[in-house]
C-alpha cells in the first residue's frame, strides 16, 4: 500500500491476500484431483519427450493435447523443472497414470505459482480504487471459492489464464489498446475457449483504436493486425513449418463431443433438453409413436446421434449462431460508443452468452465471466446485488466437480465463507445512508475521494425474490445429498445433478438478462 503511512508494514497488502490464499492452497495439496491432473501430467511428459511436430499427433494416452500451442510451450517450460523433480513424471510411457507425492507437490505448486499472473493483473486493475474497495475486490477474486474448487482441488490452470484476461482488460481500461489486444491474442493462443469474446474485442478495438480518419485509422488497423498476427505466428508458426497445422486444429476442435458435457453445465440447453423430454413424455401419453433416443443425456454418454425425441437436433453451427445473436446487442453498443469503462462488462457479457448458448460447455466456464465481473461488483448497489447472486450460483454449480465425501464440507464452507464476506462487505459498502443526513456528517469527506458515478446512497439489499432463490439452492442441495438417497436409494442417480443444473440454469439466465438490460440501458 503506497498510501499507508506505516513504515513497518512488512508485506504489501495484495501479497498478503495472495499469501493467505496460498497458505490455504498449500493445505489443499492432498485433496481430491480429477483426471485433469493426469491430463496435465501427460502433457508435461508429451512436450518433454517428443519433438514439437509430434505433440499434436501423439496417441499414447487418450488425453491428447487439445489446448493451443502457447499452453503446450508452457507445459514444455514446466516439464523442464518437472524432469528435475521427478523424471518418471515426464516419461511418456512409464509416466502414464503416475502419481507420487513429489509429482503431486510439483503440479499443485505450479498452479499456485502461476496464479502470480492473476495477482499482478488484479493489482493493476485496482490501483485507482479506494482502499476499502481494493480490499473487497481482492477478496472477491483472490479468495474466490470457484478458483479454489476448480484450480486447487479439481486441478486446472484457470487462475493464470483469467489473470491474462484481466490484464488485457486492464490495458483496455487504461486506453492502451495495442497492449490489450496483444495480451488477448496471447491468451487465445493459451486457451481458445476465450475466443468467445473475440467479436467484442474486434469491434471495440476497431472502433476505439482504429479511428481518427481513414489514413490514421487504417494505419492503426495495420499495427493492430500485425501485432495479433505476430502473436499467432509465434504460436502456430512452428507447427505450420512442419505441416502440422491441420492436425493442431483437428485436436483443438473436437466436434465429436456432444451438446452437453457429462454433467450438464447450467445453461440454456438444459431447458431445451427438459422441454424435449416433457414433449416426448406427453406425446407418448397422447398415443404418438416416438422413437426413443439411443443415447441418453442422463447417463452422461453423449454421442453423435441426436438425443432429442421431438425437438430439432442442435448442431454446433446452431449454437454458434445463437451465441453470435446473443452477443449482438453489446457489439452494437461497442460499435456506437466504444467506452473503456464498459469494456469489462461487454467481455463478461460475451462469455455469459458463450456459456449459456455454447456447444459442449463446461460448468467451469462460468468463471470466465464471474471473475471479470468482480471488478464491476463495487460500482453500484445494483451491481453488488447481481454479483452476490451470480457468484453464489456459479460456485454452487461447481459443486458436482468435487463429489467425494472428504471435500464436501470444504466446498460448502468455502461457499458459506464467501457468501458471508460478500454480505458483510457489500452491505457495509452500500450502507444506504440517507442523502440529507449523510452529507452533513462524516461521509462528506469520503465522498470527495470517491469517483462521482458511484451511488453510495443506494442500499445493498437482496430482495425476497433473490432470497427465495438462494434458499432454493439450499433446498436443492439438501434434496440431492440427503433426501434423494434416502427416498430413492440408488435409483435415478442423475436426478440430483439434473436438479442442480436446472436450478442453476435459472440463476444464470437471470444473470444474462440482467447484464443484457444493463448493457442496453447504459449510455
Amino acid at each position: 500500500m503506497k498510501k499507508s503511512p506505516k513504515n513497518n508494514q512488512r508485506i504489501s497488502d495484495i501479497w498478503w491476500f495472495a499469501l493467505v490464499a496460498a497458505a490455504l492452497k498449500l493445505l489443499l495439496i492432498p485433496a481430491y484431483r480429477s483426471t485433469d491432473f493426469e491430463v496435465h501430467r501427460h502433457w508435461l511428459a508429451l512436450t518433454h519427450s517428443l519433438p514439437l511436430y509430434h505433440w499434436y499427433s501423439d496417441t499414447t494416452s487418450p488425453w491428447t493435447l487439445d489446448y493451443p500451442p502457447f499452453f503446450a510451450y508452457f507445459e514444455k517450460f514446466l516439464s523442464f523443472f518437472a524432469s528435475l523433480v521427478d523424471p518418471t513424471m515426464t516419461n511418456l510411457h512409464e509416466g502414464l497414470n503416475y502419481v507420487s507425492p513429489l509429482a503431486i507437490l510439483f503440479q499443485r505448486l505450479s498452479v499456485i505459482f502461476s496464479d502470480v499472473v492473476l495477482i499482478y493483473s488484479i493489482r493493476k486493475l485496482s490501483k485507482d480504487l479506494k482502499k476499502t474497495e481494493k480490499f473487497l475486490t481482492w477478496a472477491l477474486i483472490i479468495w474466490s471459492p470457484g478458483l479454489f474448487i476448480v484450480d486447487h482441488m479439481h486441478f486446472q490452470y484457470n487462475g493464470f489464464l483469467l489473470g491474462m484476461l484481466l490484464l488485457s482488460l486492464s490495458y483496455l481500461e487504461e486506453g492502451r489498446d495495442v497492449m490489450g489486444g496483444f495480451v488477448f491474442a496471447v491468451l487465445l493462443c493459451f486457451k481458445h475457449l476465450f475466443a468467445v469474446a473475440a467479436p467484442v474485442y474486434f469491434v471495440y478495438l476497431f472502433r476505439h483504436y482504429c479511428n481518427g480518419g481513414i489514413v490514421k485509422g487504417f494505419g492503426r488497423l495495420v499495427v493492430m493486425g500485425s501485432v495479433v498476427l505476430g502473436v499467432f505466428a509465434a504460436a502456430y508458426g512452428p507447427f505450420a513449418y512442419y505441416g502440422q497445422i491441420q492436425q493442431v486444429f483437428h485436436r483443438m476442435f473436437p466436434f465429436g463431443r456432444g451438446l452437453c458435457h457429462a454433467y450438464w453445465a447450467p445453461n440454456f440447453w438444459v431447458f431445451y433438453i427438459i422441454l424435449d423430454k416433457l414433449l416426448a413424455f406427453l406425446s407418448v401419453k397422447l398415443g404418438f409413436n416416438i422413437q426413443a433416443p439411443t443415447a441418453s443425456f442422463t447417463g452422461g454418454l453423449v454421442g453423435d446421434s441426436s438425443p432429442f425425441a421431438v425437438l430439432p437436433t442442435i448442431t454446433p453451427l446452431v449454437t454458434f449462431i445463437t451465441v453470435l445473436i446473443a452477443i449482438t446487442p453489446c457489439l452494437i453498443k461497442a460499435w456506437r460508443d466504444p467506452q473503456p469503462r464498459m469494456v469489462t462488462r461487454w467481455v463478461a457479457y460475451a462469455y455469459t452468452c458463450g456459456f449459456l448458448f455454447g456447444w459442449h460447455v463446461h460448468e467451469k466456464a462460468s468463471l470466465h465471466f464471474v471473475i471479470p465481473l468482480s471488478i464491476t461488483a463495487l460500482k453500484s448497489a445494483e451491481d453488488a446485488k447481481h454479483y452476490f447472486f451470480l457468484s453464489m450460483v456459479s460456485c454452487y454449480s461447481l459443486f458436482p466437480l468435487l463429489f467425494e465425501a472428504q471435500e464436501y464440507p470444504i466446498k460448502v464452507s468455502l461457499l458459506l465463507l464467501h457468501a458471508v464476506l460478500m454480505w458483510f462487505g457489500f452491505s457495509s459498502h452500500f450502507s444506504g445512508s440517507k442523502v440529507g443526513k449523510a452529507s452533513s456528517s462524516v461521509p462528506e469527506k469520503d465522498d470527495k475521494l470517491r469517483s462521482p458515478n458511484i451511488d453510495r446512497n443506494a442500499k445493498f439489499v437482496v430482495g425476497w425474490c433473490g432470497k427465495a432463490y438462494l434458499f432454493g439452492l439450499f433446498v436443492v442441495e439438501i434434496w440431492g445429498q440427503f433426501l434423494h438417497p434416502l427416498i430413492f436409494g440408488n435409483r435415478l442417480p442423475f436426478f440430483p445433478l439434473m436438479m442442480i443444473s436446472i436450478y442453476c440454469a435459472l440463476g444464470m439466465t437471470y444473470s444474462w438478462i440482467w447484464q443484457l438490460r444493463y448493457i442496453a440501458k447504459s449510455r
Binding site: V20, L27, F135, L136, S144, P409, F424
Partner: protein, 513 residues
C-alpha cells in the same frame, strides 16, 4: 476464500486503515461467525492430511488410541472400561484419561457404529483404517471443536471485551483470529489427531465465566476440563489461587469457599458416578491416570528433565520414587510465587498471567510431560495475545519447533509450513495495531539470529542424516533451542505478573486514600 483475517486496527491517526470495519462494525457475533468459518475451512483442509500412526502396525498412533477407546467404550460396560481383562487389554492403548474422555469416546463411538460398524467392532477393528473411517473420526474432532472450543472462545471474547473501552474493541477480531487459528492446536487436533479442543475449550469457558464474575460456573467448567484430560491440572494452581484469593476478600470467606468446594466436588461426583460404588473401583481408574512407570520424560520434550539429562542421567541416577518427589518439589516451587500473588491480589489480568506461569512450571518440571503439553501454556498466551503479542508470536514459533520432530514423523510438514505461514500473515495483517515494544525487546539481532538458525535447523533435520553415534542429535538441538526460549518466556511472564501485582497494589492504595 478465506478470508478472515481480520485484524486489527486502526491507529487513530489513520481512520481509513480500518479495512476490516465491514466485519467488525456489526458486532462481536458476526465478526466471530466470519472468522470461525475461515478457521473451519483451515481445519477441514488440515484434516485431509495424514494422522499419527497412519498405516504403521502394530501399534499405530494416537488415532488408533482414540478409535480403540471408542471400540472399548461402546462394547463393554462402564465398569470394565479401565479394568484389564480378556476383553480389554490395557497394554494396547488402554484408556488413561479421566471418565469424561471415556464418555466422549462412547458418544463418538455410537456415531461411528451407526455409519461404519466395522470400524468399532470389538477385537476385529484393531488397526482399522479406511477412507470413510478416517473421515468420520476427523469429523468427530471437528464437531467437538465447533461445539465446545468455538463457543467457548465466543464466550471469552464477549466477557473479555465487555468492560473494555470502545477503542480497544477494535483488536477483538485479531484476537479471535489468534485464538482460533493457533497453528499448534490445529496441527495436533486435526493433523496428529487428538481432542485437546475439548479440554482446552472447557478451560476457556471457565476463564470466560471467571471474567464475567461467575466463579461457580467457572469452577464447573474447569472441573469438567480436569475430567477430560488430567493435564488441565497445569492450570489448577492458578484457578485455585485466584478463586481462593477472591473468596478471602469477601465478607464470609468460609461460606464462599465451601460453596466452591461443593460445586467442584459435585461436578466430580457426577462425572465419576459409575466408579464411586467402591474405593477399589475409583482407585483403579485413578491409577490409570498417573502412568508413573513411563519414566520422568519420554522422547525429546523441551522441558527441564529431558534437557538436563544431556548432563545428568536422571533416569539412571535416581529411583523413580525419588524423581517423583524431585519433580513435584520443583514444580511446586516454581508455580508457588505466581499462585501466592494470585491469592494475595486476585485480578483478572494477573489471573491469565498466572495460568501461563503455572502451566509453564508444570510443562518444564513435572513428571512425564509430552511434547504436546506445550498446548497448555499456549492457551493462556493466546488469550493474552492482545497484551503480549510479541510473547505470543515468540512462543508459537518455538512451540511449533518443539513439536517439529513429532509432526515430521506424522508426515505433517506441509501443513506445518502452511499453518505457520498463515499465522504470521494473520499476525501481521494489514491494518493491525502495531506493538511498539516489539522492536527493542531482547534485541532484534539476537532474535533474528535465533530465528535464522532454527529455520536452518528445520532444513537440516529434514535433509541430513544424523551421525550414527548420535542418532538423535538434531532432536536434542531442537529441544535445547525450545527449552531455552521457554525458560526465557516463563521468566518474563513471571516478572510481568509480579509487576502487575505491584502496580495493582499501588492503584488500590491510591484509591483507598
Amino acid at each position: 476464500m478465506e478470508k478472515k483475517r481480520k485484524l486489527n486496527q486502526p491507529t487513530k491517526s489513520e481512520p481509513e486503515s480500518d479495512i476490516w470495519a465491514f466485519l467488525t462494525c456489526r458486532g462481536t457475533k458476526s465478526t466471530f461467525v466470519c472468522i470461525s468459518l475461515f478457521a473451519l475451512v483451515v481445519r477441514l483442509a488440515v484434516a485431509i492430511h495424514p494422522y499419527s500412526g497412519a498405516a504403521t502396525p502394530p501399534k499405530f498412533g494416537d488415532y488408533e488410541a482414540q478409535r480403540h477407546w471408542m471400540e472399548i467404550t461402546i462394547n463393554l460396560p462402564v465398569k470394565e472400561w479401565y479394568r484389564n481383562s480378556s476383553t480389554n487389554d490395557l497394554s494396547y492403548w488402554g484408556l488413561d484419561y479421566p471418565p469424561l474422555t471415556a464418555y466422549q469416546s462412547y458418544l463418538h463411538g455410537l456415531l461411528l457404529k451407526f455409519f461404519d460398524p466395522s470400524s468399532v467392532s470389538l477385537f476385529t477393528s484393531r488397526g482399522y483404517e479406511s477412507y470413510i473411517g478416517k473421515l468420520l473420526m476427523r469429523w468427530t474432532v471437528l464437531s467437538s471443536d465447533l461445539l465446545i472450543f468455538f463457543p467457548a472462545v465466543l464466550y471469552f471474547v464477549t466477557a473479555y471485551y465487555s468492560k473494555k473501552p470502545i477503542g480497544e474493541k477494535s483488536s477483538m477480531a485479531w484476537h479471535i483470529a489468534m485464538v482460533l487459528l493457533n497453528p499448534c492446536l490445529i496441527l495436533i487436533d486435526h493433523g496428529h489427531f487428538q481432542y485437546n479442543c475439548i479440554s482446552l475449550g472447557l478451560t476457556i469457558a471457565a476463564v470466560a465465566a471467571i471474567f464475567s464474575d461467575r466463579d461457580l460456573v467457572g469452577s464447573v467448567f474447569f472441573s469438567l476440563a480436569l475430567n477430560h484430560k488430567q493435564m488441565s491440572a497445569y492450570y489448577a494452581p492458578a484457578f485455585f489461587g485466584y478463586l481462593l484469593g477472591k473468596c478471602l476478600r469477601r465478607r464470609n470467606p468460609a461460606f464462599e469457599i465451601s460453596k466452591l468446594g461443593l460445586v467442584v466436588l459435585g461436578t466430580f461426583a457426577i462425572v465419576w458416578l459409575p466408579y464411586l460404588y467402591s474405593a477399589d473401583a475409583s482407585l483403579e481408574v485413578l491409577s490409570r491416570l498417573a502412568p508413573f512407570e513411563r519414566g520422568i520424560y519420554e522422547d525429546y520434550v523441551a522441558n527441564f528433565w529431558c534437557t538436563t539429562s544431556i548432563l545428568v542421567k536422571w533416569k539412571r541416577l535416581f529411583a523413580t520414587q525419588l524423581l517423583k518427589l524431585l519433580s513435584l518439589a520443583a514444580t511446586i516451587s516454581t508455580f508457588l510465587p505466581s499462585m501466592i500473588q494470585l491469592i494475595l491480589l486476585p485480578t483478572k489480568q494477573s489471573f491469565l498471567y498466572g495460568m501461563l506461569n503455572c502451566s509453564f512450571s508444570f510443562y518444564l518440571f513435572s513428571f512425564q510431560v509430552h511434547e504436546k503439553s506445550i498446548l497448555l501454556p499456549l492457551l493462556p498466551a493466546s488469550l493474552l495475545a492482545v497484551e503480549e503479542p510479541f510473547i505470543f508470536r515468540w512462543l508459537i514459533y518455538y512451540a511449533l519447533l518443539s513439536m517439529f520432530p513429532l509432526l515430521g514423523r506424522d508426515d505433517l510438514i506441509l501443513p506445518y509450513i502452511a499453518l505457520y505461514g498463515l499465522f504470521v500473515l494473520l499476525y501481521y495483517a494489514p491494518g493491525r495495531r502495531t506493538d511498539t515494544r516489539e522492536n527493542n525487546f531482547f534485541g532484534s539481532t539476537l532474535q533474528s539470529l535465533l530465528l535464522t538458525s532454527s529455520l536452518i535447523l528445520h532444513i537440516i533435520y529434514m535433509t541430513v542424516t544424523p551421525p550414527e553415534k548420535y542418532p538423535f542429535l538434531f532432536e536434542a538441538i531442537i529441544m535445547l533451542f525450545s527449552f531455552s526460549q521457554f525458560v526465557l518466556i516463563s521468566i518474563y511472564s513471571n516478572s510481568k505478573q509480579c509487576a502487575l501485582s505491584k502496580q495493582d497494589q499501588v492503584d488500590i492504595k491510591k484509591k483507598s486514600l
